[in-house]
Amino acid sequence: MADNNFLAAIYRERCINYPKFHKMDKISKAGFLAVELAISALPKTLDKETTGVVFFSDNNGSLPTDYIFEETIKDTDNFFPSPSIFVYTLPNILVGEICIRHGFKGESSYYAIDDIPALYKSTSPFVLNERAFSYSDVLPEETVGNIVNDMLHECSSVVCGSWLFDDDKITAWAAVFENFK
């Protein structure tokens, strides 16, 4: 259960010092931590200028944060939209957060797909609530694999991740792929 307490606990346990973390929405926190753990386990440093980041999510996109933003605007007499919530209603913001955190200036993108579980099955993923980790040259499911492979023509490494939001449960996954050419 990736609730805020669980996410904060991982943040503390890993001794991550990144105050911007606390301003992120729940989805970004989960994705951020998955990437944080995946990268910290790497045997090498990634080249900042040429590393790309791509995230995939299931159908929901940023919907959990969309609901929160809608609450701030639905009542004309109680109208208080907040820029700090609105920016997180763009599902690619998490990718931007990761690029800022690690200084990655390669390609960055976000795709909404509808079969994240297939992605999990086809890899040995790092899953946040199981605390496993994958640094793999085996690319996931075909379409996702093609996108990552195509990005590897442009980038030295690609940080690939996903999140799955199901009621109050977020599962985040991240892996790093490298161009072995």
């Binding site: 900042k48 980041v53 299931d58 159908n59 929901n60 996109g61 919907l63 969309d66 609901y67 933003f69 809608e70 701030t72 605007i73 639905k74 004309t76 109208f79 939209p81 907040s82 820029p83 609105f86 920016v87 209603t89 763009l90 599902p91 690619n92 913001i93 990718v95 931007g96 957060e97 690029c99 800022i100 690690h102 200084g103 990655f104 200036k105 390669g106 390609e107 960055s108 993108s109 976000y110 795709y111 909404a112 797909i113 509808d114 379409t143 093609n146 996108i147 195509d150 023509h153 442009e154």
Partner: protein, 376 residues
């Protein structure tokens, strides 16, 4: 290379690419000023498509029964027109659909609909591809304002790898209280028609559109416009403010212009939202690239910022203008208001050069550049 074999734009300026282009060339704009919209207080300028036009076009072109949202109707009208003009069998396994949208059907939340699967971005892509009986897994790209160019780049890679024969790339977004409130609280909106790159610019206008390109792998020959190369680069600077050194925009531009003679570039069609920071940042990228003499234009004064549709729509208008040997003026622009000396097109002029660049940036630090070439 990849060729744009067919295209369509649905906007307040018309329901075909040709009509949109002719209206742009005539200096028409879809932007109107409203006393208030969606119950939000205060004057607001937007480019909004008439509901009656959407319904009559939908009935005449698509003619499907069922409960479709405005966004879905626009996407289906545009996709139907573009695939028909292309003369392709859109149901084939060699055809893949791409959807570019920032917020899809998020406007349903404003109507109190919270549990519809229409709120899922990808279901809009599914709805489009299954409308044509296409069974290939469609892709939905939601990479903020660069989504449209991102989708063209992704589709072109798929085509060049030979995985598919045709890609149908549709960009669409509509106005809603949700989107308007968001940009309003970011203080990004101008109450008056926007003025890209101008000294008096004070924000953007939002716009509605659906735009579609049908792409095919080609050898780059034949009288048409071909996609040569695209690049996407992150600023790694800030989630909602562009890099002061235009890091990502410059890197993307630099990447696509490797080995290209700058004198052969007819124009750079910039993002040019008319916000202070975007236009300033783009001027830095263009200056760093040494494109100070190259004509720079932006189409936001004609269509507003059409979000997920912008990259596709502005590529199509650029295509028609280069085929017409014209550099279209930046509507709303009079006096240079950015720190770098760049050559913003204030008047429509002729050109005989073959290349244009589509430049675009967005929240999340994303930037993209795409190079296109005309063959005569």
């Amino acid at each position: 290379m990849v060729t744009i074999i067919s295209d369509n734009i649905i906007s307040p300026l018309g329901t075909t690419s040709e009509d949109n282009y002719l209206n742009v060339k005539a200096g028409c704009t879809g932007i109107r000023t409203y006393d208030s919209l969606f119950g939000i207080d205060g004057k607001i300028s937007c480019s909004k498509i008439d509901d009656a036009l959407i319904d009559s076009e939908f009935g005449a072109v698509v003619g499907a029964d069922g409960n479709y949202t405005r966004l879905e109707k626009l996407a289906l009208i545009s996709t139907t027109k573009a695939t028909r003009n292309a003369g392709i069998d859109a149901s084939g396994f060699n055809v893949k659909f791409y959807l570019s949208t920032t917020k899809g059907n998020v406007g349903l939340l404003d109507e109190g609909v919270t549990d519809s699967n229409k709120l899922y971005l990808h279901n809009t892509a599914r709805l489009i591809s299954s409308h044509f009986g296409n069974k290939v897994w469609p892709l939905t790209i939601s990479n903020a304002c660069i989504s449209g160019v991102n989708a063209i780049i992704s589709a072109s890679r798929e085509l060049e790898a030979g995985r598919i024969d045709y890609a149908v790339v549709t960009g669409v977004d509509v106005l809603s209280k949700f989107i308007l409130s968001g940009f309003s609280c970011l203080k990004s909106l101008s109450s008056k028609p926007c003025r890209p790159f101008d000294i008096d610019r004070n924000g953007l206008n939002l716009g509605e559109a659906a735009a579609t390109v049908v792409l095919r792998k080609s050898n780059g020959e034949g009288h048409n416009v071909h996609f040569v190369k695209g690049a996407i680069r992150n600023d790694a600077y800030h989630i909602s403010s562009p890099s002061r050194t235009a890091e990502g925009s410059f890197n993307a531009l630099n990447d696509v212009l490797q080995g290209i003679d700058k004198d052969q570039i007819a124009f750079v069609n910039a993002h040019g939202t008319a916000t202070f920071f975007n236009d300033e940042m783009e001027s830095v990228a263009i200056d760093r690239m040494g494109l100070n003499n190259t004509p720079i234009n932006a189409f936001k004064g004609y269509f507003g910022h059409t979000l997920g549709a912008a990259g596709v729509l502005e590529t199509i208008v650029s295509k028609y203008s280069i085929l017409d040997n014209a550099v279209i003026k930046t509507l709303g622009y009079q006096t240079l208001g950015v720190s770098r000396k760049i050559n913003v097109a204030a008047e429509t002029a002729g050109t005989d050069k073959p290349y244009f660049v589509k430049l675009i940036s967005g929240f999340g630090g994303v930037n993209a550049a795409a190079l296109f070439k005309k063959e005569v």
